[in-house]
């Protein structure tokens, strides 16, 4: 075996394989003509071939084109405790072989486990490699996987099979975590290993981290529909939130391997990866055939980590793409009114028809935030036509992409000019002029105030929201929001005193801007608009502040016109679960305190 073998995964990733005596870290530098030494990133992997000495595989990341021009006189310097080696560029280029030859000669002769290990090692190139070259490296790795991976018998689907498995969906949560759904069963022995193999060759053991559930269709299929042959406790379905060490970019080529206690193994190919975050979120929240109530284990270990990452991925891209100003902005506004718009941009005409009658709205900093940016032209065109009619000064911020209710509010807050924020839904219509000033005066005059909300009304004039409290169905673990006096006449006396309440609705809520920013705004972990308001109120209470209900200001809230209700139910369930999961202890303490105290008073 030659001393050194050289190849590369891409123009920026060099591979060097050579004998090694010691297992110590290598330091790799690039020395130029002038003598200047530039340190390079590198990774190493030790292995024992079938015959001969131990080897080290060194993966060296060369500088990008443009970062530093490579000169012909460059020398690669590999420093180890055992001694330094120098490789002149010319020599390396002469010794360079293509990756397939390198793999065949150097890596393929290794035994199965080491081959699997070296494959995983190679995928690390994707973690270090900047995104630009990543797809090329991924495709190379996919080819290598074919050469290196020990293939298992492929599962062939038939009802008489004693064992079987299928991957029904794979969703990308971000570039290194995925959510896999399918089924797996073995009649003869217990399943001891389930390994997901990415197209690039990375491996994730998911056997220990599976959520299992019954799949009657699978059970029926294999029992030929004969009930007596079925095991009623069989939970063939599985889903798993899995994380890889390195990113995976390719859409096809996933494999799932299964091994049972007796050593029988099979494998199956997975479908194309679903990458759209909205579709992924939708699927995560739906439950085909699963329990109606959110299962703690399922939620905590699978759905929540996946959703949280998806939401973060979405958050990372929050940027106000454009900000258009209409009219003369008020000189020093006290209040910024932040109004997210999603799909129903026509509601702006409705609100302007209310605002125009209220001189206080001309003194406020009104910011509409468009969370469906594909409607940018439609909205701006509409605003240009409406402004000359209503002349209410306002700004329209268009987000770069859809980021959800919480983040849309946060984006609006980031461009706000007032010292106080009033977060308002696009389907909220104030009843009479003067409401904003009254709320502002009350907010400024009340010590220890966190958030303030007006009385919200349905379109028939009855109470939609007069503050909320926590409610739990007896025997259940989940806390939900319950509404005081909902449906009652707006003049109902107990609903007409300002008072402290635990929770307020985010459809119209006032909070000092500094406070809001200190808390980081609304939390994006909730899906699509629910419980962010409760979450905010909990955090305010945690700071020792109070949330107040202010009935003198009355605002109509035409529920569910602002964000489409199509995803409500499953999103609601998840949000409720998450909220309880995050706040359980505090809620229980709060409720205990409330039970002791008399009816809340002003």
């Amino acid at each position: 075996m030659p001393d050194i073998r050289v190849s590369r995964l891409s123009s920026g990733v060099l591979l060097l394989a050579g004998d090694s005596d010691r297992h110590d870290q290598a330091e790799v530098l690039l020395r130029g003509d002038s003598g200047v030494k530039t340190p390079l990133a590198s990774l190493s992997f030790e292995y024992e071939p079938m015959t001969g000495r131990d080897r080290t595989l060194l993966m060296v990341f060369l500088p990008q084109e443009g970062q530093r021009r490579r000169r012909s006189g460059d020398t690669l310097l590999v420093r180890r405790e055992a001694g330094d080696r120098e490789f002149a560029r010319r020599d390396l280029e002469q010794a360079l072989v293509d990756i397939q030859t390198f793999t065949r000669d150097e890596l393929a002769p290794l035994e199965a486990q080491r081959r699997a290990d070296v494959m995983r090692f190679l995928t690390k190139a994707l973690a270090v490699q900047p995104a630009r070259g990543a797809i090329a490296v991924s495709e190379t790795l996919y080819g290598l996987r074919a050469a290196l991976r020990e293939r298992l018998p492929t599962y062939v689907h038939a009802p008489d099979q004693p064992r079987g498995l299928a991957v029904e969906s794979i969703m990308a949560v971000d570039d290194r975590s995925f959510y896999m759904e399918g089924w797996a069963r073995d009649e003869e022995a217990e399943i001891v290993r389930l390994t997901a193999v990415s197209p690039e060759g990375d491996r994730a053991e998911i056997g220990a981290n599976l959520y299992r559930f019954a799949r009657t269709d699978v059970t029926n299929y294999f029992s030929g529909g004969v009930v007596s042959r079925q095991d009623p406790t069989e939970k063939a379905g599985f889903l798993s939130f899995l994380e890889l060490d390195s990113p995976s970019f390719l859409g096809t080529g996933w494999v799932l391997e299964m091994e049972n206690a007796e050593g029988s193994s099979i494998e199956v190919s997975g479908p194309t990866v679903l990458r759209d975050p909205a579709a992924a979120r939708s699927r995560l929240l739906s439950d085909p055939g699963r329990d109606r109530l959110p299962d703690d284990d399922l939620m905590e270990h699978h759905v929540m980590p996946a959703l949280t990452r998806i939401q973060r991925r979405v958050e990372a891209g929050i940027k106000v793409g454009s900000l258009t100003e209409f009219g003369e902005p008020p000189a020093s506004p006290a209040v910024s009114v932040i109004i997210p718009l999603y799909k129903r941009v026509d509601l702006i005409e409705q609100q302007l028809a209310e605002f125009v009658q209220d001189p206080e709205m001309f003194e406020a900093d009104i910011v509409y935030v468009l969370d469906s940016p594909e409607q940018k032209d439609e909205l701006l065109f509409l605003a240009e036509r409406l402004f000359p009619v209503y002349r209410v000064p306002m700004r329209i911020a268009v987000l770069e992409r859809n980021v959800g209710f919480a983040n849309a509010n946060n984006a609006g807050a980031s461009v706000a000019r007032g010292r106080i924020l009033l977060l308002m839904n696009s389907d909220a219509l104030p009843d009479k002029p003067g409401w904003l000033g009254a709320m502002t005066r009350f907010y400024d005059a009340t010590p220890k105030i966190g958030a303030l909300a007006p009385k919200l009304l349905y379109e028939d004039g009855s109470i939609q929201n007069a503050g909320m409290y926590f409610h739990r169905q007896p025997g259940m673990d989940l806390w939900t929001d319950a509404h005081y006096y909902r449906g009652l006449h707006r003049d109902f006396p107990p609903a007409n005193t300002p008072r402290k309440v635990p929770l307020l609705s985010g459809a119209c809520v006032m909070i000092a801007r500094e406070l809001y920013q200190q808390l980081g705004g609304l939390q994006g972990v909730y899906v699509q608009g629910d419980y962010e308001d409760s979450d905010l109120c909990m955090r305010l209470m945690q700071m020792g502040l109070d949330n107040w209900y202010f009935p003198e200001a009355e605002v109509f809230h035409l529920e569910a016109l602002s964000y489409a209700p199509s995803m409500r139910m499953p999103a609601n369930r998840y949000n409720a679960w998450l909220h309880t999961h995050l706040w359980k202890d505090q809620i229980e303490q709060l409720v205990a305190e409330q039970d002791e105290a008399p009816e809340p008073t002003a």
């Binding site: 258009t324 003369e328 028809a353 209310e354 209410v392």
Partner: protein
């Protein structure tokens, strides 16, 4: 400046004819110099591209009459607004500023959109705005009739829930938003005028401040010749004048005639038009009734306004069987002008003008039996016609009506001198960041 949704020269219609008559009377006898601006354009008149950039055109040689062309395709009938705001905020605003009217009086905002009121206020901050409420369009989405879709029941009370019951495809929230939108635009109106005290009450209940709304009965032009001498003849001839829509109740009348039987000693002439624009079910039903009608019913068809006197002379009783409230109705006033007692439904504007046994007869709205009984009573009671004919009150002339309107205009202008209105805030051009 009078602003109407249509010029009667383009397409005939009741409220536009009235509006134009007001203009003519004011021009000829009144103390104000009026202008008449009528909307034109699709769907009433053809789409005409040469109006772009010049939507105001003359009607004829009269320098005070203009047509205001807008393309009303895309007009939102539910909210009463048009997406084409620039016609209002640019051309219409310029037109107002060029002419500087002392008063702007709207007869209807159909096709123009309610927000024309706000644009008017923006353009002329100090000028009083007057609005005539010819029907219940502002309140009711069913053609302003306040008749429920469920079973043609009369509606006395509007609410988001009740409107939704009539139009299940439209949510209560939408009706709520419609009302708020309309009322926002109406906030700039200084005076509302309506010809029916009943309608006035309904509008006050709906939310118009009582101090801002007055009742002014319509007048009729005096140029119509009223027959003086009445020959002595049997008073058994009935006439219906109006459109063949479900609201006008011609079908009730036909049913009543059918109930009265072949040998009823009465004759009915039906003058009307627009059956083809009625909904299909009504066309079918009406067609059947006409076919089955006895020989004492004659369908005359369309008539022109100047033929009216001649037609009225030939009949004795005018039947106004509308199933909706009616604020006028003009047919009734025309009947009175010609000395014809009226047999009409016992609701709304009709019952306000007709007292049973004094100047006409009332019957139960929508009830063919009740109408049949009234018609039999009309024919078979000797001396009744003469008695009722004698009880017909004089109809206010258009000149008198215009004089009343002028009184209101003067009052508004006096208030204006007392204290100018605050200019609306914010008059800046938009800026892009």
């Amino acid at each position: 400046m009078y602003i109407a949704h249509n010029h009667p020269a383009i397409r005939p219609g009741g409220s536009e004819a009235y509006a134009f008559e007001v203009y003519e009377s004011m021009r000829d006898s009144g103390e104000f110099e009026p202008m008449f601006v009528a909307r034109s354009g699709p769907p009433y008149s053809i789409a005409d591209r040469h109006h772009e950039g010049r939507p105001f055109t003359l009607v004829n040689e009269d320098p005070n009459q203009y047509l205001f062309y807008t393309d009303a395709t895309g007009h939102d009938w539910l909210y009463g607004r048009s997406p084409h705001k620039s016609a209002l905020t640019r051309f219409y605003t310029e037109f107002l500023r060029d002419h500087k009217p002392d008063i702007v009086h709207f007869q209807h905002t159909m096709f123009l959109g309610y927000d024309i009121l706000r644009v008017t206020r923006n353009a002329l901050p100090g000028v009083p705005i007057v609005y005539t409420l010819h029907d219940h369009t502002l309140i009711c989405h069913r053609d302003g009739q306040m008749v429920r879709t469920l079973n043609n029941e009369l509606c006395r009370e509007e609410s988001p829930r009740r409107c939704h019951e009539c139009f299940p495809d439209i949510s209560p929230q939408t009706f709520f938003m419609r009302k708020r939108f309309i009322q926002s635009q109406l906030a700039v109106v200084d005076l509302f005028v309506t010809p029916s005290p009943g309608a006035l009450e309904r509008y006050v209940e709906w939310g118009i401040p009582r101090s801002k709304i007055v009742h002014e009965p319509h007048g009729r032009p005096t140029s119509i010749s009223i027959p003086q001498a009445e020959e002595d003849r049997e008073r058994n001839r009935f006439g219906f004048f109006g459109q063949f829509t479900a609201y006008k109740g011609a079908d009730v009348l036909l049913e009543a005639m059918s109930l009265l039987g072949e040998d009823f000693d009465g004759h009915l002439w039906i003058h009307g038009a627009n059956l083809d624009t009625a909904p299909d079910y009504f066309q079918e039903q009406f067609g059947e009734l006409i076919e089955d009608a006895h020989s004492n019913v004659r369908l005359v068809g369309q008539y022109e306004a100047r033929e009216l006197s001649r037609l009225m002379e030939r009949i004795d009783w005018v039947v106004v069987p509308s199933i909706t409230w009616e604020t006028g109705p003009l047919t009734l006033l025309e009947a009175f002008q010609h000395g014809r007692p009226v047999i009409c439904s016992d609701i709304g504007g009709m019952a306000e003008k007709v007292t049973d046994g004094v100047n006409g007869l009332l019957f139960r709205r929508g009830n063919a039996h009740s109408l049949a009984a009234a018609m039999r009573r009309a024919v078979e009671t000797p001396g009744l016609w003469d008695h009722l004919h004698g009880g017909i009150p004089p109809v206010q002339t258009m000149d008198e009506h215009v004089a009343h309107l002028s009184t209101h205009y003067r009052a508004l202008l006096r208030e204006l001198k007392a204290g100018p209105k605050a200019a609306p805030p914010g008059d800046k051009v938009l800026e892009h960041a």
